[in-house]
Amino acid sequence: MSSLLSIKNLGVNFDTARGSLEAVHGVDIEIPAGTSVGVVGESGSGKTVMCRAAMGLLQGSNVKRSGTVIFDGHELTAMSKEEVRNLFGSGMAMIFQDPMTALNPVRRIGSQLSEGLRVRLEMSKKDAMVRSKELLELVRIPNPTAVLNSFPYQLSGGMRQRVMIAIAIACNPKLLFADEPTTALDVTVQAQILQLLRELREDLKMSMVLVTHDLGVVAGNTDYVAVMYAGEVVEYAPTTKLFADMRMPYTEALLESIPKVDHKSGTRLAVIAGRLPNPTDRGAGCSFAPRCKYAQEKCHKEHPELKKDPDGHLYRCWYPIGVAL
């Protein structure tokens, strides 16, 4: 299978007052065409920075990006800002976590939605409005004409996220980055938005990178999962394989901490004690070792290399679960 997006050895450093902050380190991810890949991890694990770096959205003198990103045959890391920009919309698009702040509060939905169509597809104002209405219908917004003339504050969170999705898919992108698209929403609306994304992906033959902190969201919506911890991909496998046979103690801990409806009431939740390591000072060993219940001496001293099972399951652990040493 050919890769639509191929990220190799991606690293992102921010210069801060307290020294260089390594937000993403040595990330390798392949996104095969037509698939959905979940990126899971806690706040601060580098999920969002990784996606933005892949799209070339991180700019500024304090940002250092290393490694290569190849999208659909183009090496993004070797292209100019203008050339990368030309891929936005029709090549790749992004949905952000907070639909309120991602939309311009003083412009009507219609003008924000038709902007991409007019700039990227060079549609006339009238055609763009007609297409905008179709797009709102596509994301199942009732009464699209009224919504075109509305301002973002007049819409609910779920409606705003549908508008964001409509903007993102307006120019038929090949790859959609969805950065925590449902975290700010209620469970019922989350279920609706995830179903909508599944259907659109099917209909438009779109690939997707779904960023989330919730393994429950990943389970029904992705083909592959990359688990991130402290700026690194610590496990990567097909979704069914990951849930059936996980290797990383971190993935296991993340899964156990989700409250489940079929637990008996009053069940004490399993927690991951402690916090993510300080990103300006990682230490020598495995980044997860201080919080890991299986950690041994070696884990605190040597940083584990990425290992690969014969079936392609990747993990970064000295003592992986289910592997005889």
Partner: protein
């Protein structure tokens, strides 16, 4: 007033069959109505004739979608602002009748934890000042006694006093801020703790830590809790009784194990089906709840959920369902309950 289809008179609400009326009730809310005037002739009916009681040592979970009136209800219990009508009885005292100064002192025994842990703490105050403020206002002990109390509280919520006392809220993560909020809420030894979506802004791993901490604090301080959430999976771990709300009314009240195993209201069923399952081999293929709740300015007649309910009939539009007991301890307001 409405006339029910069984001939009896029903309060404009969903009935009171679920009220236990025992002497052990710490908090009793009767027929609470909260309305806001948003324009000359537009009134938002946030909570309509709602009743519930919470027994000593119990955790009542209130569950529902955004805009169903959960937060308004919690704030009205604290008289922030006072409800339009109805009673809020805390330990035998009706708070809605209290003069301002008495209400202020009565509020010390009810504390609230808010959804956004970072913005609910004053960024200019140190952790020491944040927790000391209630103790100082109510003159609880000498300086040395108060400092000792602050240290104990911080230790209780799992923070190291020496490391945090002189720092401000922006130096902490969301989970740590929520711990500070909990320490502050417990400073005055409240009897009732109202938690308004305390974990919905947190990551799953931190969420589990805070839920466990709330449970520990409840046991240690003998608290009675009201826990508000939109996520049924979250409340299962902490609650003794779950109340499902929709558009300002009660749909269903039941102990969690009953509610999750055999939900009787179609809305409860839909909420349960919305919880994502962390197992790719067990994905549900059920019909999702479509659309969003209608406007509380103009709620549907009869059963308020009928516009999104697949089991709705003519009767649902004409008569408002009243809460009735369908199993021991399980009350549902539905003409066509799931059996």
């Amino acid at each position: 007033m409405l006339v029910s289809d069984r001939g009896g008179v029903v309060m404009a609400g969903s009935g009171t069959a679920h009220m236990r009326n025992t002497v052990d009730s710490v908090l009793t809310v009767r027929d609470l109505t909260i309305e806001f005037r948003v324009a000359k002739d537009k009134i938002v009916k946030a909570v309509s004739g709602l009743s519930f009681d919470v027994i000593r040592g119990e955790t009542l979970a209130i569950v529902g979608e955004s805009g169903c009136g959960k937060t308004t209800l919690a704030r009205a219990v604290l008289q922030l602002p006072p409800p339009n009508s109805g009673e809020v009885v805390l330990d035998g005292t009706d708070l809605t009748l209290l003069p301002k100064e008495n209400l202020r002192s009565a509020r010390t025994s009810m504390q609230m934890i808010f959804q956004d842990p970072i913005s609910s703490l004053d960024p200019r105050m140190t952790v020491h000042q944040l927790i000391d403020e209630p103790l100082e206002i109510w003159d609880r002990g000498t300086r040395a006694e108060r400092d000792e109390r602050i240290n104990n509280l911080l230790n209780n919520v799992g923070l190291e006093p020496e490391l945090v006392l002189n720092r401000r809220s922006y130096e902490f993560s969301g989970g740590q801020c929520q711990r500070i909020s909990i320490a502050r809420a417990l400073a005055l030894d409240p009897r009732v703790l109202i938690c308004d979506e305390p974990v919905s802004a947190l990551d799953v791993s931190i969420q589990a830590q805070i839920l466990n901490l709330l449970q520990d604090m409840k046991d240690q301080f003998g608290l009675t809790m009201v826990f508000i959430s939109h996520d049924l999976a979250v409340v299962k771990a902490v609650s003794n009784r779950v109340m499902v709300m929709y558009l300002g009314k009660i749909c269903e009240v039941a102990p969690p194990d009953v509610l999750y195993a055999k939900p009787a209201h179609h809305y409860t069923r839909a909420l349960l089906d919305s919880v994502p399952i962390a197992d790719p081999t067990r994905q549900k293929k059920t019909e999702l709840l479509q659309g969003e709740p209608p406007s509380p300015m103009n709620p549907p007649s009869g059963c308020r959920f009928r516009t999104r309910c697949h089991a709705a009939s003519v009767r649902c539009a004409e008569h408002e369902p009243e809460l009735q007991e369908v199993a021991p301890g399980q009350f549902v307001a539905c003409h066509h309950p799931i059996v």
